[in-house]
Amino acid sequence: MNEQIVIPENEQYQELREFIAEHKNSKGALLNVLYKAQSLFGYLPREVQYFISRELHVPPSQILGVITFYHFFRTQPVGKYVINLCLGTACHVKGAADVLKAVCKELKIDVGETTEDRLFTLSTARCFGACGLAPTMMVNEEIYGRLTPLKVVNVIKGIRERELDR
C-alpha cells in the first residue's frame, strides 16, 4: 500500500498518546487502547489505527483484525443515536423480527446503516440480559423494553422531535 496516511495533531490524538504511554507496558493493552480511542473519536478510522500501530508497536493488520472481530468497534462514523435491537431467543419469541421491520421502514435503512441526517445508526445485538422486558433495544446507553412496532416508531419519532427542538 503506497497510500500516505497523514495523522493530524490535535488534542484527541494527544490524549490518546498519553493513554497509550501509560498502558504500553501492561499486558494485553490493545483492547483498552481501542476502547479509549473509540470513546475519543466515536469510531476508529484508518488514521487512528495507524496512530495506535505506531505508538503501541503493533502491526496495523493485527489492529484491524481485532477491530473487525468485536461487534463493539466501528470503522465508520455512526449516527448520534445508535439503535441496538436485540434478536436473542427471548426477544425473538416476543416478536423482535416485526419490531426490526418497523424500525427499518421508519428509518429507511437496513441493519448496519446510518440515516442520511446522521441521526440514527441501526444495528442488532444478542441478549442484553433484560429478557423480562423482551423485546428490547438499546439506544446509546438507554434500554427500551416491551417494544411493539408502534411503540418503537414512537420512540424514534420522540427522539427526532427532541432533536428538532434543539
Binding site: 490493545l30 431467543t89 444478542r126 440480559g129
Partner: protein, 524 residues
C-alpha cells in the same frame, strides 16, 4: 442510631432502571422527607428482587408487601397512604402468588427456594461493603486463610461443586490441576461474559452481591497460588461494571484485596476487563485470547488452561455462579453443601425462566428439581391457560425438550441421558402457538452471526444450516434436507474447534427429532 419502623427496598437492576427506577427512588426519598418520615422509613437500594416484567419493584419490610409497576407519580400516594396512614396501596401490590413464585424463601414455605448464591441479592445494598460484612461476608476468606491451600481444595473437592458455566466440570479438580502446575505466575479468571441468549443469572450476582464474587475469587486465588485475578464482564452490563469496580475499591480499602490480606502474608489483586461484544469470548480459551488483547479466537485444547492459560501461565477460569458458591462452602462446610441437590451434582442451580409462562423470572433451587416443577410450580404454568409445547433448555446452544421429558430431574448427569444439557440455566418456554421451525431458524441465525470464522466447519456449517432452514420456511425445501441438517450438525460436532460449533447438534437434532411433525409439512 434509631431503628426504622419500615424498610423500603428499591430494586435497581437493568430492567427496573429501564422502567424508571432512579426517578422513582428520587421521588420516594423526596416524599418521605417532605412528610417528615426520614427517621422512620429507610429507603435502600438493592439488586433485583427477582420479579421480572413488572417494571420498578419495591419491597416493604416488615410488612412484606411488594409493589410493582411503580411510577414516580405513585410515590406521594404510597408515602401518604401506606407509611403515614398504614394503608397499603392495593392497586399497586403485586399478586401474592407472583411474589411467592420468586421469593418463597422470604414469604413462606409454599415451595421453598434454597438460596445460596442469591442469599443476599435483593436484601442488601450491593454498593455497601458493610452490609455484606454484616451477613457473614468475608468470614469464609478468614477461615480459608487459616487453612492450607491444599485443605481449601480438599474441601471444595469434597463438596462436589461442579462448574455452573455449563460444562459441569468439578471445580476442585480444576483448582488442583492449576495448583500442581509449576510456574512463576498463575491466574484466576472469572468468566462474566454472560452472552447466552435468555440468560442473566450472572448479572444478578454481579449487580446484587458483588462482594460474594470477590470473596470467592480471593479464596480461589489462595487455593491455586495465583496473585492476580481478572473478571471479564461483557460491555453491555454497565451496572455490573459499575458495581464491581466499586466493590473492588471498597475491598481494597478494608485490606481484603492487595498486599498481605488480613495479615496472612497472601497477596492478591483483581482487575476488571470489559468485553467488546463477541459471543465466542464466553468460551474459556477465546476469553483468554481476548484478555491478551487479541481476536477472541478459541485455542486448540489440550493443553488445558490449568496448564497453559492466560499469557501462557496456568490459569483457572470459573463462571460467576461457581465462584459465588465458594464462600458458603468454606463457611458452612462441604457436608452442608452436600445436603442439597443430587449425589453427583450437589448444591443449587440458578435458572432464568422466560417465554410463555405466567411468572417469568429467576429462581435458585436444588439440583435435581424437575423441569415440570420449575415451569409449572415456580413459573406458574403457561400463559393464558395454553398448552405446553416445548422448552429450550440451556440457551441458544440448548435442547428443545418436549412434554414427554417434563419429569426429567435437572442436573448435569441426568440431562445427559436425554442428550440434553443444563447449559447456562436458561429455560425458554414455548406454548402450543410457537413454531419450532421458526424458533430453530432464529437459533441458527444467531450461530451464523456469532461463529468466529476461525475453523471452516463452523464458519461454513453454520451458514449452510441457516440457509437450509430458511429454505424450509419458504417451503422450498426437499425431504432430504431434514437429514442433511442432522448430518451437518453431527459433522460440526466432530470437527469444530470449540463448543460454539460443537453445540449446534443439540438444538438441531432435538428440534428435528422431538418435533419432526412440524417440519414434515414444510417439505411436502
Amino acid at each position: 442510631m434509631r431503628l426504622a419502623r419500615s424498610h423500603v427496598l428499591v430494586s435497581i437492576d437493568i430492567e427496573s432502571v429501564a422502567s424508571g427506577a432512579w426517578e422513582v427512588l428520587k421521588r420516594l426519598k423526596e416524599e418521605i422527607s417532605r412528610r417528615g418520615l426520614l427517621e422512620e422509613i429507610k429507603v435502600l437500594e438493592t439488586g433485583t428482587l427477582g420479579v421480572t416484567g413488572l417494571g420498578v419493584v419495591l419491597a416493604v419490610y416488615p410488612e412484606r408487601i411488594y409493589y410493582g409497576k411503580v411510577k414516580p407519580e405513585d410515590c406521594p400516594r404510597i408515602v401518604e397512604e401506606h407509611f403515614l396512614k398504614g394503608r397499603p396501596v392495593q392497586d399497586l401490590i403485586i399478586k401474592e402468588e407472583v411474589v411467592r413464585a420468586v421469593r418463597r424463601d422470604l414469604i413462606g414455605p409454599m415451595r421453598e427456594q434454597k438460596r445460596v448464591v442469591l442469599e443476599n441479592s435483593g436484601i442488601i445494598d450491593p454498593e455497601k461493603i458493610e452490609e455484606y460484612l454484616a451477613r457473614d461476608g468475608y468470614t469464609a476468606l478468614e477461615k480459608a486463610l487459616s487453612l492450607t491451600p491444599d485443605e481449601v481444595i480438599a474441601e471444595v473437592k469434597k463438596s462436589g461443586l461442579r462448574g455452573r458455566g455449563g460444562a459441569g466440570f468439578p471445580t476442585g479438580i480444576k483448582w488442583e490441576g492449576a495448583r500442581k502446575a509449576s510456574a512463576m505466575e498463575k491466574f484466576i479468571i472469572c468468566n462474566a461474559d454472560e452472552g447466552e441468549p435468555g440468560t442473566f443469572k450472572d448479572r444478578l450476582i454481579l449487580e446484587g452481591d458483588p462482594h460474594k464474587l470477590i470473596e470467592g475469587l480471593i479464596i480461589a486465588g489462595y487455593a491455586v497460588g495465583a496473585r492476580k485475578g481478572y473478571i471479564y464482564i461483557r460491555g453491555e452490563y454497565a451496572l455490573s461494571l459499575h458495581r464491581m469496580h466499586k466493590a473492588i475499591e471498597d475491598a481494597r480499602k478494608y485490606g481484603l484485596l492487595g498486599e498481605d490480606i488480613l495479615g496472612s502474608g497472601f497477596s492478591f489483586n483483581l482487575e476488571i476487563k470489559e468485553g467488546a461484544g463477541a459471543y465466542v469470548c464466553g468460551e474459556e480459551t477465546a476469553l483468554m485470547e481476548s484478555l491478551e488483547g487479541k481476536r477472541g479466537n478459541p485455542r486448540i485444547k489440550p493443553p488445558y488452561p490449568t496448564v497453559v492459560g492466560l499469557f501462557g501461565s496456568p490459569t483457572v477460569i470459573n463462571n460467576v455462579e461457581t465462584l459465588a458458591n465458594i464462600p458458603a462452602i468454606i463457611r458452612k462446610g462441604a457436608d452442608w453443601f452436600r445436603t442439597m441437590g443430587t449425589e453427583s451434582c450437589p448444591g443449587t442451580k440458578v435458572y432464568t425462566i422466560l417465554g410463555d409462562v405466567n411468572f417469568p423470572g429467576l429462581i435458585e433451587v436444588e439440583m435435581g428439581t424437575t423441569l415440570y416443577e420449575i415451569i409449572f410450580g415456580y413459573g406458574g404454568g403457561i400463559k393464558g391457560g395454553k398448552k405446553f409445547k416445548a422448552a429450550l433448555v440451556g440457551g441458544a446452544a440448548g435442547v428443545f425438550l418436549p412434554e414427554s421429558l417434563l419429569n426429567v430431574r435437572m442436573d448435569f448427569d441426568n440431562l445427559k441421558q436425554y442428550k440434553a444439557v443444563l447449559g447456562s440455566g436458561a429455560i425458554l418456554v414455548m406454548s402450543q402457538e410457537a413454531s419450532i421451525p421458526k424458533m430453530l431458524h432464529s437459533v441458527l441465525y444467531f450461530f451464523r452471526h456469532e461463529s468466529c470464522g476461525q475453523c471452516s466447519p463452523c464458519r461454513s456449517g453454520t451458514r449452510e444450516l441457516y440457509r437450509i432452514s430458511g429454505h424450509l420456511l419458504e417451503r422450498k425445501g426437499k425431504a432430504e434436507d431434514l437429514n442433511t441438517m442432522v448430518k451437518l450438525s453431527e459433522a460440526l460436532w466432530y470437527s469444530s474447534l470449540c463448543p460454539l460449533g460443537q453445540s449446534l447438534i443439540m438444538p438441531v437434532k432435538s428440534a428435528l427429532e422431538n418435533f419432526r411433525e412440524e417440519f414434515l409439512p414444510l417439505v411436502q
